[in-house]
Every structure is written in C-alpha cells, then in structure tokens.
Symmetry: D2
Subunit: 126 residues, 4 copies
C-alpha cells in the first residue's frame, strides 16, 4: 500500500524539517490505513509495537509532498513486521525507511496471543 501523507505544520522543527520523532507517527498513520482501511480492523489497535527503527535518508522540508509505503515483510506466530518507505513524492526520492515489529495482544487478559487466521490472511495482502 502506498498513499499520500497528510503532514501538519506542527510536524516541522525549527530547521524546517519534519521532526525525527514524527516519522514514528507517520508509520503509525500507515498502520492505521493498513489496519482500519485495508484490513477493516478497529481504530483502537489490538496489538502492541515491540520495536521500531527509522533510518533518515534525506531531508523532508516543509512544503514538500510526502507519501508512505507499508508492506508486511514477515509474519510469525504472534508477531509480524511492517516495513515502511517515505518518499518526497515529486522527486520519488527516499526520505526515510524503517520497520516496526507488532505483537498481537489481548488487552483484557493483558497477554500476547497468536495472530488469528483471519488477521493472518489479511496481513499478507498489505
């Protein structure tokens, strides 16, 4: 899935760059699109993020359109990996790359659980 990122004025720091922390929010927006819009899940995610990595490749300056691509790159018993690429749309230039590890979680029982089959089938389609 690849779609435009709606950035906000407040995302940019005093240098005019998208702040380094906001990239994890962009990843979260991609997860939301994947999970809610593509996989028809609930907006209050039933998983936890166990790990996140961002590699900042080039500058994302205020006023430049950005888009993000999210791909399921690995599926395990309870966890899966989503990989991300953020690009400056006009130049198709990579701005940042990253990955997050998600673990299926039962918030009532407060423990990790196996990925349900229905979710697994949808995950590979992202």
């Amino acid at each position: 899935m690849r779609f435009p990122l709606e950035t906000r004025y407040a995302d940019y720091d005093s240098k005019g760059h998208a702040n380094n922390a906001v990239y994890l929010t962009y990843f979260e927006m991609a997860r939301h699109h994947a999970w809610v819009d593509r996989m028809h899940g609930d907006a209050d995610f039933p998983f936890i993020v166990a790990e996140a990595t961002v590699r900042y490749v080039s500058e994302a300056m205020i006023g430049q359109a950005l888009d993000i691509e999210i791909v399921t790159s690995e599926v395990r018993t309870k966890a899966w990996v989503w990989s991300y690429v953020i690009r400056a749309t006009d130049e198709d230039r990579v701005v940042a790359e990253g990955r997050t590890v998600q673990v299926m979680y039962d918030y009532e029982a407060r423990r990790t659980v196996p990925i349900p089959d229905a979710v697994r089938a949808l995950l590979v389609a992202v």
Copy 2:
C-alpha cells in the same frame, strides 16, 4: 503557582517559535502541576475542559526559558476557571495569556457533577 516550563525541541515550528497549539499543552501541564502536585488528584483528570482561550502576546523563541503561572480565577457549582500567564523567564516578559473552563465530570456516569467540597477547598488555594 508559578513554575518553569520544560519545553521540547519538537514544540518549536519552522520559524523557531513555540507552535500556537502547544500553548494549550503548556496550560495542560500547569493543570497537571496544580491538580496532581498541589491538589493531590489523579493524573487521569476527573474533569473536562469546556473552553480554552490563548492570547499570543510576544515571541517564545527556541532556547528561551519559559515559566507559567496558573491561578484559579473563578469557582462555580460545577465549573471553575483557571487563568494562565506564560513568561520568558529572563526578561519577565509576557509571552502568552489565557484561560480554560473546567467542568467536574463523572466519566462512568458520563455526566457533569458538582465540585466536591474537598476539591473546592483545594481549588481556591491554587
């Protein structure tokens, strides 16, 4: 109550100013100090904010120390008003002023409730 504001790099926009929205977060930090540290209340506030106003008076540039003053300026049956002044500490220059109206709220019953007497007594001491 008047205390130093711990600002964050991400609070500042591409002009080097504290972003206009973050002032409401500064007000919220002041409410937290008043409510949790002074009034010994729970961090998950039992009230709702019904109204907020900010008047931006002068620039808060990155690198300038800021402080905030919070005062209870009105107490009604179910609601009260907190007033705020944010200053650039070194010059004692007013950066912004504002006020918020809070209404006591029962989140389980999902309705507004009168301010308990114990809370009322503490409110006037802020």
Copy 3:
C-alpha cells in the same frame, strides 16, 4: 470550505478523546488548506496567530470521522478572523467551535503589515 480531518492515533488521550490541545492543530490544518490549497500561498505562513479560542461542545471519540469548516468571518486592515466548526461527520454533530485572529507579518522586517489586496480578495472567498 469544509473538508475531512485526517486524525491520528496520537491525537487521542487516555480517555479516548481527541486531546484538547490538538483542536488548535486541527484549526491549523484548516488554515493550511485555506491558505495553501485555496489561496495558493506558501506553506511557511506569512502571518502570525494573535488569539485562539476553542469551545468544546461534544465528544470526539477515537474511530469517529471528523470534518472541519473554516470561514473568513472578519477582515480588518492588518488582521482577519477565521471561524471553525468541527463536526462528527456521520451524525453531523458539532464537536467544537472556535476562532483565531491572524495578523499579516513580515518575518524579515519583524513587524506587522497591511493585508495585500490580492490576499484580501482571496480571503473573502474562503
């Protein structure tokens, strides 16, 4: 102008509500749409926000689609007022209302300036 708000998971607080400060960011997003998309201005705004008010009318819970309307409600020599209404789209229910006062600003000369005629003509079309 009225358009959908792209909310973010991080906008919601521990009660599942859009955080009170994020409404000023939603107003800022509306300004961006008005200024950049409608008025063809630069993303690095040539004006300052002098005042902002939000009245919180009803709950915006996580998972509810929101939209925002922005209207130019007053134009003076150097300043103008934008008014906002945020609604829960499905029910057309008002979630919040507010207004901000903008002042045209020359960031190099560091002083307020009159609204240029071309901007004035575009402002009344918002």
Copy 4:
C-alpha cells in the same frame, strides 16, 4: 546522565500508554539535556539524527514517574551513538531502550563535518 522525564498528559494514548512515537521525543529531550545542559551547546542542534531505534520492553502507564539515562556509546569521525534507557522510577523497571546515531552537520554549507575536538572531549563525558 540520568534524570527524571517530564511527561505530558498528551503523551498518553487511548490505552493509557505513552504513545510509541513519543519515546523518540523522550530521547530528544535527553539529547537536549546532554547537549545544552551538560555540553553547553546551542538549543538549535548542529547535528542531524541519521538513525533511531526503540525497543519497547514494558508498559509506561499514565501516572507512573519515568526517568531516562543517556550514554555516549560510540564516537566516530563525524558521527556518534547515544544509547538510552527509560525506566519506571519507582520500580527501577526498564520501560524502553534505544539508540540514535548523530552526524555533525554544517547547516549553512549543508554538509556533514568532522566532530570538533572540543565537542569530542565533551561527548565522552556524557
């Protein structure tokens, strides 16, 4: 260096957890303390962050005091690594760990530069 983290109500998501993206902001706050308070540098950092990783170990719930430790774990010609541990203070329980790679940067010339000797000497003291 280890010091208390001033968290904000807006940092917590609808589950009552510190949002996953805000950890990078906490790392940034630690960098600010290290760079400005310890190393006497400018608040407008003269370096870029090239990479960031967070491993989420246990829950940081609203109302729990957090602290952060930052250590310089590697110094190269132009870049260095800072490592972080965030703990729930009362239990001394690790909440998250991570690292960021910084590259010295000349924002006027728009290129990476070697770490000045004076900075290098201060870095190893963090």
